[in-house]
């Protein structure tokens, strides 16, 4: 698809400066590249194309082919190359075009990138960012629509961050680049504000001009509420907020938590919210079983099962590959409709 649109600057004050998530992300990378020569970007179609989802738009023009490198379709080789470069003190950002492709290079990722620091007893650091696109909802079917963050979060040694909006996308990328650990940075295509994909209204928003870090490991309570807690992340945050706004007039007051990072997971924020509301809905676009939603449930009940005054509710992909036909894809994704139905169960339970 054609490169992402340029900054949509609202008339006047830079305070009102609005960017798409894709632009904010690329801006964060660019600012770190200016600050530190060791930051380079590698991947497929991240140069002239600017990244299939716009994550590297404008970087080649600005930093040249020595620091923004298009690779062959050899994920094992170029992700491993990133690891070796990081071991030697560089800070590579390597893009895996779609997270769905992890299976061709997972050994470098989980047996090397994630374990070298531990195996070396802390003597070797691997400060790299593995950036990848996630998610469905646009008809790309089984091999191009997955989230899979549960798969990465299950394996020790890598941090996992998942932004939901432009400001966090920039701040989490800068924090990831500066982190001395490998960080898997997972952006959902649906939050990028791409000109060629249905945009959620919050995919273009104010982003501070200067470089800043959004802390890794800290969730955000994006909507305070008292009746029930919705723990979610990425594109689903926007569905949850939309449902919350829709139900507010009926007197249903939802608290919405945007996890922002899975590893480390901000258990404290989840627990204090559930302690307050006594009701928990987890909304996750990854596969339901053996993943994120289960882990959150466990963290709550290993603290105190009494916190839950109603049965846990989960809205996730029901352990089925993402089908192509829209009617089927809609049925398995965590849509506002499914979230609303779950909230009704939860609050009347």
């Amino acid at each position: 698809m054609s490169a992402t649109d340029t900054t949509a600057t609202a008339a006047g004050a830079p305070a009102a400066r609005r960017l798409t998530t894709a632009r904010a992300l690329a801006e964060g990378i660019g600012q770190e590249m200016e600050r530190d020569d060791n930051v380079v970007v590698l991947g497929e179609d991240i140069g002239a194309y600017g990244g299939i989802f716009g994550s590297t738009g404008g970087l080649l023009e600005k930093f040249g082919p020595e620091r923004v490198l298009d690779t062959p379709i050899s994920e094992t080789a170029f992700i491993g190359l990133g690891i070796g470069a990081a071991v030697e003190g560089m800070r590579p950002i390597v893009e895996l075009m779609f997270v769905d492709f992890f299976g061709v290079a997972m050994d470098q990722i989980y047996n090397h990138m994630a374990k070298i620091h531990f195996e070396s007893g802390g003597n070797v650091k691997v400060p790299m960012v593995l950036m990848t696109a996630t998610g469905g909802g646009y008809g790309d079917a089984e091999q191009h629509s997955q989230c899979l963050w549960g798969t990465f979060a299950h394996l020790p040694g890598m941090k996992v961050v998942v932004p939901s909006n432009p400001a966090d996308a920039k701040g989490l990328m800068i924090a990831a680049i500066r982190d001395d650990n490998p960080v898997v940075y997972m952006f959902h295509k649906g939050i990028m504000g791409l000109p060629w994909m249905a945009k959620n209204p919050r995919s273009v928003a104010h982003v501070p001009e200067e470089a800043y870090e959004t802390p890794i490991g800290k969730a955000a309570v994006v909507r305070p509420g008292k009746d029930a807690t919705v723990v979610t992340l990425s594109l689903s945050v926007h569905h949850a907020l939309d449902v919350a706004e829709k139900l507010a007039p009926d007197g249903v007051d939802l608290e919405v938590i945007d996890l922002r990072s899975l590893v480390p997971l901000d258990t404290a924020t989840i627990l204090s919210s559930v302690a307050k509301t006594g009701r928990l809905l987890i909304v996750d676009e990854d596969y339901q079983s053996f993943g994120l939603s289960g882990e959150i449930a466990a963290r709550v009940v290993e603290t105190d099962p009494g916190l839950l005054r109603a049965p846990l509710r989960r809205v996730a992909v029901p352990d089925v590959p993402i089908p192509y036909a829209r009617s089927l894809e809609r049925a398995v994704l965590p849509t506002p409709e499914r979230i609303e139905a779950a909230v009704h169960d939860l609050v009347k339970a």
Binding site: M1, D45, I52, T76, Y138, H144, V320, L328
Partner: protein
């Protein structure tokens, strides 16, 4: 090469092109005014094969219905050349219940047990399953073969190497066909690949390798004939690379700003060229061309009508078919 064969090659190329033009039309028709990849009758990525018809036509002309073919994310020309049912294939691309996969798979996941055709959206990962089909064929009567298609960009993926070595070592009846259209999305072949011809990589596995230049359907036909014959005769795999042409974008919506030679591309369209060649040879004339194109249009229209008449899958069936 006899006239009938040449006409058949032309016919298949025309049918395939007519098909892609029809998809192109419907794909974009209802994504306006604000182009949205997820909107309309045909959502998702759409990788069309215009310009690459000579590869599919020339290779599949040697195949029987019970031979296996694995294709890539750009599968339509190959499916058509191998004789996948056009109605069911189109219904699948439209995500309907009468599709090859009952609407579950879409254009990158076409599975036809009848013609042993399949494809995958993951680069080079269609090769290993082709080895398995060849492995099964080798143990049974019939001298069946498997043909695995892939792009030149895919030839730098580990699966390519592993598959060629294993096929060669086990002497499997497989033909590997690399469609070199010069581009892997925005990355030119010389940026991604250390050598100029993937056919030279055959030597790394001790098998014959041949590169066919100029997107020449008859040269493809000849080379593929030898390769398929070798496989049927139990002489093992062959690697072919065809220098072909990506006439359109990588996928629909690709502005191709990265592509310097864009202006010359239409001038290299293989179909008018072959039409001219056959006309010069006195095998084709304007009337015959018209008949062939009309037949193709009629066949494609029938397939599209079938697809559009087929029901959309019911949401309640979304969990079906995870397990047998």
């Amino acid at each position: 090469m006899d006239d009938k064969t040449r006409l058949d090659l032309y016919r298949v190329m025309v049918l395939s092109r007519t098909y892609e033009e029809a998809i192109l039309r419907d794909y974009h028709a209802d994504k306006k005014p604000a182009w949205d990849i997820g909107a309309g009758l045909l959502p998702g990525e759409m990788h069309l094969s215009a310009g690459q018809e000579p590869v599919a036509a020339g290779v599949c002309a040697h195949l029987r219905t019970d031979d296996a073919v694995t294709a890539t994310h750009r599968p339509h020309h190959i499916a058509i050349a191998h004789g996948v049912d056009l109605d069911k294939m189109t219904a699948e691309i439209f995500g309907r219940v009468d599709g090859l996969g009952r609407g579950r798979g879409g254009h990158m996941h076409l599975f036809d047990p009848h013609t042993h055709f399949s494809c995958s959206g993951i680069i080079a990962e269609g090769l290993p399953p082709a080895l398995g089909q060849a492995f099964a064929f080798k143990r049974r009567p019939g001298n069946r073969v498997a043909v695995a298609f892939t792009g030149e960009g895919a030839a730098n993926q580990g699966a390519f190497h592993e598959s060629l070595n294993l096929a060669a070592r086990w002497n499997l009846p497989v033909v590997f066909v690399v469609e070199d259209n010069d581009w892997a999305i925005s990355v030119p072949r010389d940026v991604s690949t250390a050598i100029s011809s993937n056919a030279d990589r055959a030597a790394a596995y001790g098998i014959p390798g041949q590169r066919i230049e100029d997107n020449d359907v008859e040269a493809v036909y000849t080379a593929a004939g030898d390769a398929v014959a070798r496989a049927r005769a139990g002489e093992g795999p062959t690697l072919l690379e065809v220098h072909t042409l990506r006439l359109w974008g990588h996928f629909e919506g690709d502005a191709q700003g990265y592509r310097p030679e864009l202006a010359d591309v239409p001038g290299h369209d293989p179909i008018p060229a072959y039409e001219h060649r056959l006309t010069q040879a006195g095998i084709l004339d304007a009337a015959a061309v018209k008949t062939i194109k009309d037949e193709a249009s009629a066949r494609v229209e029938k397939a599209f009508a079938f697809a559009k008449a087929s029901p959309v899958p019911a949401p309640e069936t979304a969990l079906d078919y995870v397990f047998a």
